[in-house]
Homo-oligomer: 344 residues x 2
């Protein structure tokens, strides 16, 4: 590799202008070519576990838009699936699995874990060969809290009330579950790095419903546990931690968990984002609805982030995943606008 | 009245120990007597519009627990209902109404608005007679942004994506809708005060999904518009503003909107809450899941708030509504614990 990939230089704290850009869920339903490939798989998880198809859908947005990073096509719920929790995706209803109870936590079997995830690792190996040399390859996993919210409820929930309640009622069992998830996630991320991932992102999509003490116990501690284990095994690992909705609790999150960059959702005020950027790289944080709306509203949203954050280490991204309703033309517009900027 | 009601003294900035306490949705499905009364009404809105039944369910938690405040039994969606948007509640599915578009906003009829809400005002009049003299009577309305999220989608939505998108795509029409809602809400709150409400609360339950600029435009501006109009008509009006999930944007919210107190959801860190309390009264912010969990977890949650916030103007409350799964025994436990405190 002639030069270090741009996104990795930002993770080292360098300011790159214009900022490297990718979008969460950039391989997804808003793309007609994704929808076509998706139809050839039996169901969503079969797509995740088929290296040929997973490579294809990961490459689609790279070919079409030339993003600076590709994120392996997979799902945060492959972890409970690899723990035999019978995960399946019902079209129009989202993910379902067997809800877990304290006895189920005691009985969790981790023997077959990495073996079950071999196809995902194979996808990464193939991607590193297929991708342009300058494109950063990202692996990922869900954070233990977020994954646990699904395992406890058996499905997605508003406000993640079942997991919050479970944590109050069965704190010891809950901590045990988070520890198992953290340890398995660390193994998984190490294997992703060994398979070719340049950097990995930990998605704590539901961190925003936690109170202050619970955030420390259930969001910070398990993510730190993952990162400590990954760094112990692979000291050069590059890690982005994304605690969606954490707001003011992001203040010390980066140093608490030990990540290289932190992701920012679209509700993080730009003045606060600027403060967080003084500690290191930030990633975000355009409202995904602007990829549906387009037009001047999109331009203004891009300009606001560029004006405030592009003079520091920034990975341009959305504040959450791009939605199925998004217009691919708006992605073209977004990239043109970001890349058309002249350093002020 | 021999002495000013406790909650109103807190709204004036006074510290009362132990703090006056009520719970959002304290009249609700967790109470068997509520469920019994609810069955006698045709549907949920019929209960809201029947003064006899609405008084009964409002009084139930006062009789059972002796809360320091009663909040009139109603719903934030009576406003779109009074604007002829055909609101109905489908059991197990939540509220439904005709989704509004820009033409529908232009055609909104406000002539019959207050007339439609006469039963709610009658409920307040009767409550002021029924309630113990020391109990504060609260009125309320939904904030324009939150009400608009339902009017645009036609139902509740995760992340309120339809309204966020509508605001980007039809900003002018959206601002018009918010202005109409603000003006009608102001009239409604003034009528509530005239009917006997000691104070009113404005619920911006979905403020947390707004980015910084959108929060200013769609959460701050319309709520300030309501409060300015209410204060112009009734200079002594006492107002609590609750922007759920607003996080760091609460920093200046009280002075921006001009409320006497601000409500805090359960994710607001106690150190930040303490800072906000220096500006005036705060209300909150126990995790409602603790009313399901009970036990030591509940006690610890109460203790944390009491330790940090009870030496300033505090209204003890949950950080969001009590849920149907809550155990009434836990409410007894909560009140006993709060009221058993000795000033340290």
């Amino acid at each position: 590799m002639s030069e270090k990939r741009k996104l990795l230089r930002v993770l080292d704290g360098e300011t790159i202008f214009p900022p490297p850009t990718w979008l969460m869920r950039q391989a997804g339903r808003y793309l007609p070519e994704y929808r076509a490939t998706r139809k050839t798989a039996k169901d969503f998880l079969s797509l995740c576990y088929n290296p040929e198809l997973a490579v294809e859908v990961t490459m689609q947005p790279i070919r079409r838009f030339g993003f600076d990073a590709a994120i392996m096509f997979s799902d945060i719920l492959v972890i409970p699936d690899a723990l035999n929790r019978n995960v399946h995706f019902v079209t129009g209803e989202g993910p379902k699995m067997d809800p877990i109870n304290p006895a189920g936590i005691d009985a969790l079997k981790t023997d077959n874990f990495l073996n079950h995830l071999t196809p995902v690792l194979e996808t990464l190996k193939r991607l590193r060969i297929e991708l342009p040399n300058e494109t950063t390859l990202l692996g990922f996993c869900g954070a233990p809290w977020t994954v646990a919210t699904y395992m406890i409820a058996g499905h997605g929930t508003p406000d993640q009330a079942p997991a919050r309640l479970f944590a109050y009622e069965h704190e010891q069992a809950f901590n045990k579950l988070l520890d198992i998830l953290a340890d398995m996630s660390a193994q998984y991320l190490i294997a992703q790095i060994d398979a070719g991932a340049d950097a990995v992102q930990i998605f704590d999509s539901w961190a925003g419903v936690l109170g202050e003490k619970e955030f420390e116990k259930y969001a910070v501690r398990p993510v730190k546990r993952i990162i400590d284990q990954v760094r112990a095994a692979r000291p050069d690992a590059k890690i982005i931690a994304f605690a969606k909705g954490a707001g003011i609790l992001l203040q010390n999150y980066r140093s608490q968990v030990g990540s290289d960059a932190i992701g920012l959702d679209w509700t993080v005020p730009v003045t606060f984002a600027k403060e967080l950027q003084k500690q290191g790289a930030v990633q975000g944080n355009l409202d995904p609805m602007l990829m549906v709306a387009g037009g001047e509203a999109l331009d203004k949203g891009v300009d606001r982030i560029m004006a405030e954050l592009s003079d520091g280490p920034l990975i341009f991204n959305l504040g959450h995943g791009i939605t199925p309703q998004a217009d691919p033309e708006n992605v073209t517009r977004l990239l043109k606008r970001i890349r058309g900027y002249q350093r002020g």
